[in-house]
């Protein structure tokens, strides 16, 4: 169990003291988070880590999870896809069922002074606002750059009833009457996925997977789906390997609901079978230490995404001081400044070129890694995320441009 004071060593005493000052201004306010899942998925992961830290700071932070039947989750999955710009058909009785599920959940719920709704599933709870009062915030965690118009109009009728909406990237902002606030996601430097590991642990993980640590390792950690371009990664590795000896590790979760997933998997596997230096690792969800060790033991990390929401795996790699080459898409350019805190590429050839450069210029690669680590420390750690949430809650009680607390 980590405590907020444990982060002083990482972000400095002053930063933690400031968090206590901000939290103190929220005395007497109950902050209620509501989402649709207690485990699994990024929102549950961040709430699991963040709630105890907010409570450490003295904030009365709570967390409720709504429940629904299979039909409800099938509708919310469609809504999720529609917000990503996928064409979907949602029937009017599915919308009605969605609303009814929200109403049923509301009837058994006690609402806090600040109601913090995460993602679209519980969005219609705001119908209760007239009865229960309080301040309401809607936090959208998903890529929102090209939402389906029909679904967005349905959701907007609820969003308009909130006090503020929160998005993860500037491109997700919409024409709304309420204030829209930018809050980037974060990583937790003390979690199993990111904490410092002893060399023996890193060695043991490499040995277990049969990877030779005496030769350079290039690694991509990500789901095996088309948008992460694992086949492009293999092609870039092959181009680089013509000139520089290296091994490739592709590690991540199994097949997703991406319809092209099985074809991608087949292609990756057949490529890997022809080359003993390609290691394809299917990792179960509980593989945080393994992922951590693979990243820390690699000479270069890739995140050759073709499309990306925010791309927190990049922040994870940078935090470990690893030189990172990533596609210039989604939130990745917010994390990497080209040739300063990492490398941004647009093609297989460009990626191969930079793999060679970084493997052969370790001093330059180390400088990128050091700068990347610093940039993540300053901008993408959970303490910055907590600070943004505290400001968000406080902003609900103040209208001025400059607020003296």
């Amino acid at each position: 169990m980590t405590h907020i004071n444990d982060y002083k060593e990482i972000v400095g005493r002053g930063t933690i003291e400031d968090l206590f000052l901000l939290a103190d201004r929220l005395q007497g306010k109950a902050v209620q988070n509501i989402n649709s899942t207690a485990v699994g998925g990024g929102v549950a992961e961040i709430l699991t880590r963040m709630l105890p830290l907010l409570q450490d700071l003295g904030v009365d932070a709570r967390w409720d999870v709504i429940k629904g039947n299979e039909r409800f989750y099938s509708t919310t999955k469609k809504i999720h896809n529609a917000l990503h710009g996928v064409q979907v058909d949602i029937l009017s009785d599915e919308f009605e069922d969605f609303l009814e599920t929200n109403r049923q959940n509301a009837s058994g719920m006690t609402f806090g002074d600040i109601v913090f709704i995460h993602d679209p599933q519980p969005i219609a709870l705001v119908e209760q606002r007239g009865t229960v009062g309080g301040r309401w915030v809607w936090r959208c965690h998903i890529d929102f750059s090209r939402p389906d118009d029909h679904v967005w109009r349905f959701l907007k009728s609820f969003v308009d009833r909130y006090d503020s909406a929160v998005f993860s990237a500037p491109a997700f902002a919409r024409a709304l009457a309420i204030p829209q606030i930018l809050i980037a996601p974060s990583i937790d430097p003390l979690s199993d996925k990111n904490r410092t590991l002893p060399e023996e642990t890193i060695d043991a993980v490499f040995t277990r997977f049969g990877i030779d640590r005496s030769r350079p390792v290039v690694t991509q950690i990500s789901r095996f789906d088309y948008l992460k371009d694992p086949v492009g990664v293999i092609k870039a590795y092959r181009l680089a390997k013509r000139r520089v000896d290296c091994q490739l590790v592709l590690a991540g979760g199994g097949a997703t609901d991406d319809p092209e997933g099985p074809a991608i998997m087949q292609q990756v596997n057949s490529e890997a079978e022809r080359d003993q230096d390609i290691h394809v690792l299917f990792l179960p969800p509980s593989s945080d230490i393994e992922i951590n060790a693979l990243q820390r033991g690699s000479a270069v990390i890739l995140q050759k995404s073709l499309r990306e929401g925010f791309g927190l795996t990049v922040a994870e790699a940078l935090w470990k001081g690893r030189p990172t080459i990533a596609g210039a898409v989604g939130g990745i350019p917010l994390q990497i400044k080209h040739k300063y805190s990492g490398i941004l590429t647009h093609s297989i050839e460009g990626t191969a070129h930079w793999i060679k450069q970084l493997l052969q210029e370790p001093a330059f690669a180390a400088r990128l890694g050091k700068n990347g680590h610093q940039h993540v420390r300053d901008n993408f750690l959970i303490t910055r995320h907590i600070k943004d949430y505290l400001l968000l809650f406080l902003s609900l009680y103040h209208a001025d441009d400059i607020v003296h607390l």
């Binding site: 400095g12 000052l21 997700f172 829209q180 606030i181 400044k337 943004d388 902003s395 441009d401």
Partner: protein, 213 residues
């Protein structure tokens, strides 16, 4: 004499929902957005890259250079000496003049690639007192060693331009104490062309050197 009471501050980033895809729409945006947006786009880099980049460009310069590939304009926009402007409205006039001139001489008006538009943002600033106050220069420099970088930022950048005090808070306090020479030295420091940690150590050294003589 009043002790120096350290405040700290934090900004909330507001998405204005307005974007630009070329110089014309960038100029229209700069004319229309609130002052807090100009402040945000000219100061954000300082905090986000405060350990990395000793010469942080502003967002307008960065976008003109990196997205529109207009290096001369980018250089004009990034070389702005923000210290010479007494208010954010004066700074706005500067950007309008530079962009107007660029547009007059442009033989074409390229749009940026889709997805790389300039998104106008703004900030809301929350100021709060810290428990730290200094009655002497010695105590002042000791506190400055450990106080959060946001506190330093507030007294140097926000005080002068965002809060419209016309001077940084440190110089004002030094002058109140009768240390005019130290106040003048502090005023001469260009905080925009160094990292915040560099600035912190410069001020501490400057105050300690002055105090020792």
């Amino acid at each position: 004499m009043q002790p120096f009471a350290f405040n700290t501050k934090y900004d909330q980033t507001i998405l204005l929902g307005r974007k630009a895809k070329n110089l014309q729409t960038l100029l229209a945006g700069i004319r229309a957005v609130p002052e807090s947006s100009l402040y945000f786009h000219t100061h954000r880099f300082l905090l986000q890259h405060h350990f990395l980049s000793p010469e942080p460009p502003n967002d307008f310069a960065y976008w003109a250079t990196e997205v529109l590939n207009d290096d001369p304009l980018g250089e004009n926009l990034s070389s702005v000496d923000i210290l010479q402007f007494a208010s954010l409205e004066d700074l706005r006039k500067f950007f309008i003049t530079v962009l107007d001139e660029s547009l007059q001489h442009a033989d074409r008006l390229p749009d940026c690639p889709r997805g790389e538009e300039f998104h106008f943002m703004a900030c809301r600033t929350f100021v709060l007192p810290t428990p730290y106050a200094a009655e002497t220069l010695e105590a002042f420099s000791s506190i400055l060693e450990h106080i959060s970088i946001s506190a330093l930022y507030y007294h140097i950048f926000d005080a002068r331009l965002r809060l419209g005090r016309g001077d940084n808070d440190f110089s004002r306090w030094f002058a109140d104490l009768g240390h005019e020479e130290l106040a003048a030295k502090m005023r001469m420091l260009d905080p925009y062309t160094q990292t915040l940690e560099g600035l912190r150590s410069h001020i501490i050294t400057m105050v300690r050197d002055y105090d020792a003589h």
